[in-house]
Structure formats: C-alpha cells, structure tokens
Point group: C2
Chain length 327, copies 2
DNA sequence: AAACGTCTTTACATCGTTGGCACAACGTTG
DNA sequence: CAACGTTGTGCCAACGATGTAAAGACGTTT
C-alpha cells in the first residue's frame, strides 16, 4: 500500500508537499500539484487513517453502545445513527451489552479517548458511578440516570406512557394492565410511572406484569400470566412492540379478539407494528431526530470543542393509533 | 490521558519496561513489575490503540457492510458478527449501502488497509470489478459474484428456495407465485432459480412478482398486484420475511384466509416470523454459524496470515414449517 | 541593485507505541 | 577469576501522517 513517501518519490517532491496537496493547501505550484495528483492516482494512495488520527488527535470513530442489535428498535436506531454520523465523516463502531451492567460498564471504560472521539450509549442498567469519567463525550439515549452530568437525548417517557394509557382509558377500558416492569431499566421505571399516573387519574387499579428481556417470548409469557388471573384485563399497554406482538399472539391463541376482547398497545413504532395482524397502536418516537440530535451533541463537544452545560434534549413523539385499539 | 511515558516516569523505569509489562513480557524483575502495575493503576493507563496499531500494522477493526441495519435480518446478522468478532478482540464498524451499487463500491474502496483488518460484505448490486483489489481480506455473505477470487459464506440459496417451493407443492398448491424478483440482487437470482426448478419439476407455471426493496410495503405492493390478476395464486413464496408479512397483511385485508385460501412462506427466519399471526413458514439459515464462519475466515487471512485458495463455505439451513402453510 | 514581501517548498520534530539491539547485572561454570 | 549464559533494562528507530518554522524562489518596490 502506497504511503505519502512513495507518492513523494514518484512525483519528485517532498513528503510535505504531497501532504499539502492531499489536504487542499492553497499555495502549491500548479505544475507540482499536477505531478502530485498524477502520482496519487498512479499509486492509488489512501491516507493511513490511524497515522493521521494519531497526529491529529482524533480517531474518526464514534461508538454506539446498545443492548442488542437484533432488537428491531435498536437496529433502526443504529441505522439512523450511522447515517447521521456519516455526515460528519464518522464511522460507527457498535458494541453490544446484552443489557448486562458489567458489560455496559466495561465497554464504557475501555472506550478510552484513543479508540473513539465520542460515544452514544443506550443504557439499561448502568448506575451513575459506572460512567463517572468516560474521557470522551458521551450522550445517553432513552434513559438518564439522574445525578449524572451527561448529555441526554430521548422522548418524555412518562408523558408518552401516560398518553398511551389515556388512549386506552378513552376507549372505555377499565382493567388496563401493563407489561414490562423491570427492576433496573430506567425507561421501564419512567413508563411505569406514566402508566401509574394515568391509572390514578382515572381512578382505576393497577395491573402490573414484569418482563425480563423485551422479546416476543417475554411478552407472551407475561400475557399468559395475565390471562390466567381471575379478573382478565381488557387492555394491555406494553413497553415495547415486541412485547406487544408477543401478547397479541397469546391473546389470539386463547381465542380472544384484539381489540374487541382486549386492546393492546406497544411502544417504539418499529416497522413491523404497521403490518402485523392486527396492526399495532404504538408510541412513535421521531427516531431520525433522535439520531441526529445525539450525533450533533457528540460532534459539538468532541470536534468543535464547545463547552456547555449538560443538555437534556427532548424528542417529539406521536401516538400512532392502529387496529389493535380501534374496535 | 496517561501515556506509557507518564507511567514510566511515575514508576521510575523506562518506557520500554512499562511496555513490556503491559504486553506480558516474561522477564521483568518482580519488584519493577509491581511498581509498574501500581503506576498503571494510579494513572488509569489505557493503551492508545491508534499508536499501537500503527506500530503493529493492524487496526483492531473489521468492517461489516450491509444494505440497511433497520432490516431485522441484518440486525440479527450484525449482532452475531459483533459477538463473533469480539472473541478475536475485534471491534466492528458498520457501514450501510442502502443497496446502492455506487455506495457499495465506495465503501469497499475506502476501506483501505488502514482502517480495518478485514471486511465482511453483504453485497446486493456490486459487480466483480468493484471489488477487484480490496487490499484487505474480504468475505462475501449471501451472494457471490462468481468470477471473483474471494471467500464466500452463505447458504445454498437455490436448494433452499427449491425446498420451500417443494413444501408448497406438497400441500397440493398449484398456482404458486414468487415475490422478490430483482434485477441486480444476486440472492434474488439464485432464489428465483430454485423456485423455477421446483416449479418446472412439478410441471406448474411460474408466477413472478418483482420487489424493489425488501420491506413490508414492497411485499404488500406485490401481493396486491398478484391478487388483482385473473388467476389468483394459492400459494406465495417470498424472498424474505418482511415481504412475506407484508403479503400476509394484504391477504388478510382482502378477506383471504392464510393458509386455507393462500399459503405464504418467507425466508430468513427473523424473530417476528415465529410470533406473527399466522406464524410464518420460512427458511431458517443458521445465522450464528454464518457469522462465526465469516469472522473466522477473515481472521485466518488477516491475522494468521494464512494463504489458501478462496473458500466457499456452505452454511446449513432448515425449513421452519409454521401456520402460514399448515392448514 | 539592495531590500522587501509574497509565495512555495522542505527539513525536522512529533503523536504513542513496539521491535531490535546493545548493554548491564547476575549467577554459573571451568 | 575469567569467561559464559541467562535475565532484565534502556536507547533508538520506526510506523505514516501533519504542524512548525525556516529556507528558497521570485517579483516588486525604492
């Protein structure tokens, strides 16, 4: 692979002149510029990014830390982040934590300032101590362990959950259950709070089912348990779409009609939710805006070296009403 | 951020000795080792990977190039690759091409040998010329532009498609359509070939519908068009699960029962297919094996510097029979 | 023609790390 | 006690790029 030196020898100029051409420096004699460009083409020169970044003090990478890429929400999110990062000439390095606190912590620590210019983290179980001094700008997504002086981008989970549950209440449902309670996930806590507010406001009683991970099978399990209770719920709000679709599936297997016998709503508006049978009512965060906001924040801190107090950016969301709650 | 030099000063030894400790060199006086380790802890030293890799000639990254991470199949695949790469101390850099040939080409060219140690590419539209001399080991997934001397890992798409279609034939269906024909996607070509073989073997007539991208909406569109034809199909084989679920949705909207009126099968066995209503019969490639095989091949070439003729690794698959084809 | 200012190019140091090698320290051996 | 092998350590160069600053080229002004 050709280096600057090779090109310089071929063009008969110094290494620095080649570097100047490559970097678009203005004052290069046209004659030399041409010869250098010819040599660049002839050798097929590509800058060694490692060396360049070593010198420049930036790496050209940002890290995206998510629990699991196989969860469609995170796949869609990652896609948006990669696209937004590309506009800043950043490549995205993705790490998976499986929602495990130890791994979240390790990844964040190892990120050191040498590997990436910044990081976007979708935390599930980290506690403030874990992210104490990351060394590079870190933006948190979705959840925000409160006492932490880090930027945060997300939707208002409490309000979103309340909105969804109010929608179910407006349908006239009275036994409204929730699926997704979780001991450590921050978003779960917030969504549960929103659910509780709405239920309290309507004077109903809470029906809470936990979920360990947030896959279909967890939703199915929780739904089975709910339907086995003496007082069957007539509506269920799930903390993500996969839980909801797992629940729909179980309702269907039990011979219950959705939404007539039981209305079901999800969260995230993943692509499947619009095409499932029945299609799924869900909270739709503006994922593109989320990705852009997160990348921009990292960029301002990491590259523009701006210094400003920790931001808390709230991204708009919408309630997408579909068949699973429309009798 | 602490460097080797800082640690060396603190420990009162030379930079090289610290380097030796960090790299587990055997012959270091216990006394010095202890002091260095203390200094390492005190400073919270992290190696500068850029510098290390510049020196060592490897980067610690591999690239994964996929069309879109928001497609669940690629999300699941990426998850597997990241996990497999982690076992070789590799981080994974993901680039999206949107299935666009120019971008596939650009990404592969820019990968240069400086940014990544190797690449795993899931091509959609590249032609052999584009990947002529990648400079780093490249493993192709799924599709293999034939005259190319590159490693390839994938399932036997022709046989898989034939298997799926035979399954539909065994159900007694006679008007079996296919959704997903595409002018440039290699896997589409192969799956279509498998479909054609099966149809020919059974003496039936081909019913072919194209798809531009492979999202739900494309499946829905194609299905609508198929159902508008005078002779309605009684079975449809789709080139991925999203197409199939889009098709299921349209069938449902038309008041057709799946599978009684029309059987539908997909491809990829993404997590949703097991929980949709009806659950989806699909071809299930062993994704974990696929990821492992691809990463191992890159590793053998990039790190072990093995030299061997281009491999063509065939990964097993299974036909997952579910409700959408079980009356 | 000397002095000056503007362009243009180059030599050199540097980023943080590791390989190669020389040398120092040490205990063994003849 | 000289020669030796084994350990342990440090110096230097190098990876490929870029910032600095100084030197060279050239035309213009006095």
């Amino acid at each position: 692979m050709a280096t600057l030196k090779d090109v310089a020898v071929l063009a008969g100029v110094s290494v620095k002149t080649v570097s100047n051409v490559v970097n678009g420096y203005e004052f290069v004699k046209p004659e030399n510029r041409r010869r250098v460009e010819d040599a660049l083409n002839a050798t097929g020169y590509r800058p060694n990014l490692g060396a360049r970044n070593l010198r420049r003090g930036r790496t050209g990478f940002i890290a995206l830390v998510v629990p699991e890429l196989s969860i469609p929400y995170f796949g869609e999110l990652a896609g948006g982040i990669i696209a937004a990062a590309a506009e800043h000439d950043w490549s995205v390095l993705i790490e998976q934590t499986q929602g495990d606190r130890a791994r979240e912590r390790k990844v964040i620590t190892d990120l050191g300032p040498h590997m990436v210019d910044g990081a976007i983290v979708s935390p599930q179980a980290v506690v403030p101590d874990d992210i104490a001094t990351p060394g590079v700008p870190v933006v948190l997504l979705g959840e925000h362990p409160l006492p932490l002086p880090l930027d945060h981008v997300g939707i208002d989970n409490v309000t979103a959950a309340r909105t969804a549950v109010h929608h179910l209440i407006d349908l006239g449902r009275t036994r409204i259950a929730v699926i997704g309670q979780h001991p450590t996930r921050g978003t779960a806590t917030q969504r549960l709070a929103g659910y509780r507010q709405a239920i309290a406001e309507a004077g109903l009683t809470e029906i809470v089912a936990p979920a360990l991970r947030y896959h279909h099978s967890d939703g199915a399990l929780a739904m089975t348990e709910l339907l086995d209770r003496p007082e069957r719920p007539d509506a269920v709000f799930c903390f993500n779409d996969m839980l909801a679709l797992g629940a729909v599936r179980v309702a269907h297997d039990r011979g219950l009609r959705v939404p007539d016998d039981i209305a079901i709503a999800g969260f995230d508006n993943t692509e499947h939710s619009a095409y499932s049978v029945p299609s799924l009512t869900t909270i739709a965060p503006d994922k593109a805006a989320l990705a852009r906001a997160a990348v921009d924040l990292v960029h301002r801190r990491a590259i523009d070296k701006e210094d400003f107090p920790p931001q808390d950016v709230s991204i708009p969301f919408a309630l997408e009403v579909r068949e699973s709650t429309t009798p």
